[in-house]
Symmetry: C2
Subunit: 586 residues, 2 copies
């Protein structure tokens, strides 16, 4: 071992001990006759002192040659520090160095290795190994490690078995695009990388494993939006003989346990609301419930009063902004401009000031009287001093747009507190979504999701009305997981595939093994998958998952540090019975 | 929840309780007026009783319709069993069923779900989800789970951080063949799946993480020998500021801890021997040291006596078979035939009986006298009553062949006891191996392995003599892991690449990021990777890794259950700028 102690563990209790430390040079303060060096490793920082009078001559001379980020090893005596730093555990001592060896020199790093660095995103990604030295990034990855360990131990204690499912599987056209892997031994054929271990975990239930979990990489060849990665990590779980409420209560407990262990926070019970309710009250299937401003539906009281904008629209909804009555006209106009931005896409906003004296002032006073506006205020839970914003449009757009406004206002008002957490279960999603392009239903969740028992009959008559036995876990407005009770019956699974437009042959080719399996005593089962990247980011007080991944890819799916993907030789391709095509001009 | 208890937890202490169980029908004994059903789940078996007189009529009638592997749910009373089965915890009770519901019917399984099954390998792989129900397979995977958890908790306690490295990385021609993954967003370019996270874990050390681990899938596109998988799992570790002995003692402790926890066995200290010594004494770099029969070198005393077979060969070595003097001529001839099999490939065997009276009888009495043979016996550590087998040939063949014989004899003599375990470290491997075909050196371990410090000068003069700071962990004759102290110096790494025949450009293209990283203060570091599949198999008392993988592939790299790999559409390929080539006639 190149050290007797690490740089985080020495304190006054080690005074007068001879120790050996190794680490990186974080900082040098050189006064000529004396120099202090901060030596850093993963565990902390210890101050070294090189003193013309007390340090051996040769060592002192050598010390003048060291620079920032050099890796050095020192031997020396633990002595008391004159000016103590009470902020760090080792701040009371320093090492009077008697031996110094330079283990490796460092070029001047392209950016400073400090919490607040001068390096831009691209630069830090290219030199990710240096970025990883920054305390912030290091802490993020240590947090991720802790979360993984806590999750594994919690689930293991709850009788879940960690089972590795394969990475080289079969390509299926359902869902997102697969990454495919040419097989040399089976020429002309391809593996696919899993988008999730979905079918395998269901087969494990058929195999009697009862409770399965895995922290597992998944892959999706999607055009990357910001903060999406082509490879991402799931906490993947499945249980047999359970109903929805069993899954929900266990995983609620897991999340509560995590917050207790990591942040010392006791989370409140997670409310459970239906998808329909979530859309009606928040305009979102992943609402942030840390604050109010729930939607009021104004259709009945706002239509038929001669205001054409309302009369012609499907949905009229409003929210009450607490204390918003004192917004200036300019402030109100700013919000109107904000919703008109292409990212939101609304046509405009109607507003109503709820004055302290009980009167109302609105942008539509020509059409609505005080009595009308009082009813709006009731529907939106507005109080004197609040401001009501109203939006009208087709249901989907109006909800989405007002939801965006609700979140942005809350953000600006400081209602989305970073140290406050609220979990929520959203349930009863529609099973199917009609796709106008392909003229067929798509599975909202995935094709293995069970319809609610009481809706089974509707599958043939009114499939669009069928709700799924599916659930999403939402935390502070972020979807951190989702799951469902699965179909475990061959006939029902066949019916589902047929609704999704699979021919019998297609269903058999792609999922024959699963439907076969269901014929040999498949138990009722269900499960959930949580996004580890996002969960850790939230626990770390951030919404940027890249900061919590050791070696993330950029928005083009590239690892700029290793420069991947890259070309391979024609020989290599030929061995796989493949040939590169020139890019089509577009 | 579809049950109040599982099938393994009820005992006499639950008598007279009303319980709900769910599981699979393992066995039915039907006497007409009474039927006993063994209900199975992951946790155990509980006996149900359906009795014409005590069971509700409708339920009794329904019970006659259930069959093997049906999934049922029952409600009933825990009662005392008349003929108790003391072998299982629930053997003292049975459930008098009052309600029965059939959750899912099962077709007759294609093989019996018992420890000793009538299903062949192919059939069981095709229906792996049924094979997984067999106790043996289930126990293997539960063992794997336990091993993973123990390893993770041990390493986490020892300050290792679990860090996920990427799966979509860069293809490098060094080492085995990569699986490659076409990138749609970067057309004409490819990711590779990692053969190991080697470079990433080294970058984590440069990044200051000090101690890293990961239980991680790795991929190799090799022609599969028996018991090799295209995807396999490694316990992957790396440490900074360590020397060889630090790595060895920590991972020896890990293995000892595992055996203590899993099997209650305290392993002896693992001897550490050099590669040269291992070859000299055992003819193998992964010797089984649970028994003796070490090699004696006879060159000096067996050459020059007129026996041409010996005089013309490079190496003459022998082993003493304990108690082998009473082998019949036929038995001896069988061994001679055995070594002549093409799998071993020896020309023959010389034998010497060490008679109880101190005399010797050999197959070469014409050339060697009693005095000569006495010296052989001394060199091979033979005693009166033993048989000496002697082999001659070029060094490599003679060693390999005699090693095979040694293992087979030990196997047949019952010296390779399945409940006995002995670990061993083999160190000081040659750094380089000359490849006659490509006329260049190959790295024995990998290009990042550090030469021994005291051999650095030889790199330019006599590279073939340089030993590596590398080590293998061997258990009962199986290599279960290997590692090395790594190069952390840019110049030395460049020198190494140049020895391996890389041009400067090739080295920079493929490993530029690593050599760059080394310029910014890389710490001395080293690590190890253990093969989880093999380790678990050994802990499970088997040498067949397939039995310890939930969904293994066959020797053609196929998953016969899901039928992967498979064809993908031309559209799909075109999107990746690829075209399938017809297979060349061969």
């Amino acid at each position: 071992m190149h050290r007797s102690h690490n740089c985080g563990e020495l304190s006054e209790s080690n005074l007068n001990q001879e120790v050996t430390l190794a680490g990186w040079v974080q900082k040098i303060r050189n006064k000529g006759f004396i120099a202090w060096v901060d030596l850093r490793d993963r565990y902390g920082i210890t101050q070294l002192v090189f003193d013309e009078t007390r340090t051996p001559k040769a060592v002192f001379k050598k010390s003048t040659g060291i620079g920032r980020e050099d890796v050095i090893q020192v031997k020396g005596l633990v002595i008391e520090r004159e000016s103590k730093n009470l902020n760090i555990p080792s701040g009371g001592i320093e090492i009077l160095v008697s031996e110094l060896s330079i283990l490796n020199h460092s070029e001047t790093p392209p950016f400073t290795i400090e919490n607040e660095t001068d390096g831009g995103d691209e630069l830090r990604m290219k030199y990710r190994y240096l970025d990883l030295r920054r305390n912030k990034v290091k802490e993020n990855l240590i947090l991720r490690h802790r979360v993984s360990m806590i999750v594994r131990n919690f689930l293991s204690q709850a009788d879940f078995i960690d089972i590795e499912t394969p990475y080289l599987i079969k390509s299926t056209p359902e869902g997102a695009r697969d990454f495919i892997v040419p097989s040399r031994m089976n020429n002309g054929q391809f593996y696919a990388l899993p988008q999730s271990p979905q079918t395998f975990k269901q087969l494990l239930m058929v195999g009697g494993f009862d409770k399965y979990f895995q922290i597992v990489k998944c892959f999706r060849d999607e055009d990357l939006r910001a903060d999406r990665q082509p490879e991402f990590t799931q906490i993947d779980c499945e249980m047999s003989f359970v109903e929805q409420k069993d899954v929900l209560s266990l995983f609620e407990e897991l999340i509560q346990h995590l917050f207790q262990e990591i942040k010392g926070i006791k989370l409140n019970e997670f409310p459970r609301i239906s998808y329909a309710k979530a859309m009606e009250k928040y305009g979102s299937d992943k609402p942030d419930i840390r604050f109010g401003m729930t939607f009021g539906k104004l259709n009945e009281i706002a239509k038929g009063k001669g205001f054409n904008v309302f009369d012609s629209q499907e949905l009229i909804i409003g929210i009450a902004v607490p204390g918003g009555a004192n917004y200036t006209r300019k402030e109100i106009d700013n919000w109107i401009d904000w919703v008109k931005r292409p990212q939101v896409g609304a046509k405009g906003l109607i507003w109503v000031r709820c004055n302290e004296d009980g009167s109302y002032k609105s942008s539509v006073d020509n059409f609505f009287n005080q009595q009308d506006l009082a009813e709006w205020s009731k529907k939106t839970n507005a109080h004197a001093g609040d401001l009501i914003f109203v939006m009208a449009g087709d249901s989907q757009n109006a909800q989405t747009q007002l939801s965006a406004l609700r979140i942005e206002i809350a953000e600006q008002m400081g209602l989305r507190k970073s140290n406050e957490y609220a979990g929520l279960w959203v349930t009863d999603f529609p099973l199917l979504a009609w796709d106008e392009d392909s003229k067929r239903y798509h599975a909202m969740h995935h094709p293995f999701t069970a319809p609610k028992n009481e809706h089974l009959d509707w599958l043939t008559s009114t499939p669009e009305k069928v709700l799924a036995n599916a659930y999403d876990l939402v935390l502070n407005g972020n979807e951190i997981g989702g799951g469902s009770i699965r179909i475990h019956d061959t006939q029902l699974q066949e019916q589902m595939f047929s609704l999704l437009g699979f021919t019998k042959k297609q269903a058999k080719d792609q999922f024959g093994f699963l439907m076969n399996a269901f014929q040999y005593g498949a138990p009722p089962h269900g499960g959930i998958a949580l996004g580890l990247d996002r969960l850790v980011a939230l626990l770390g007080g951030s919404e940027t998952i890249k900061d919590f991944i050791a070696f993330p890819k950029n928005n083009n799916g590239r690892d700029v540090m290793i420069d991947a993907p890259s070309k391979v030789s024609d020989d290599n391709l030929e061995e796989l019975y493949l040939k590169s095509l020139p890019k089509k001009s577009s």
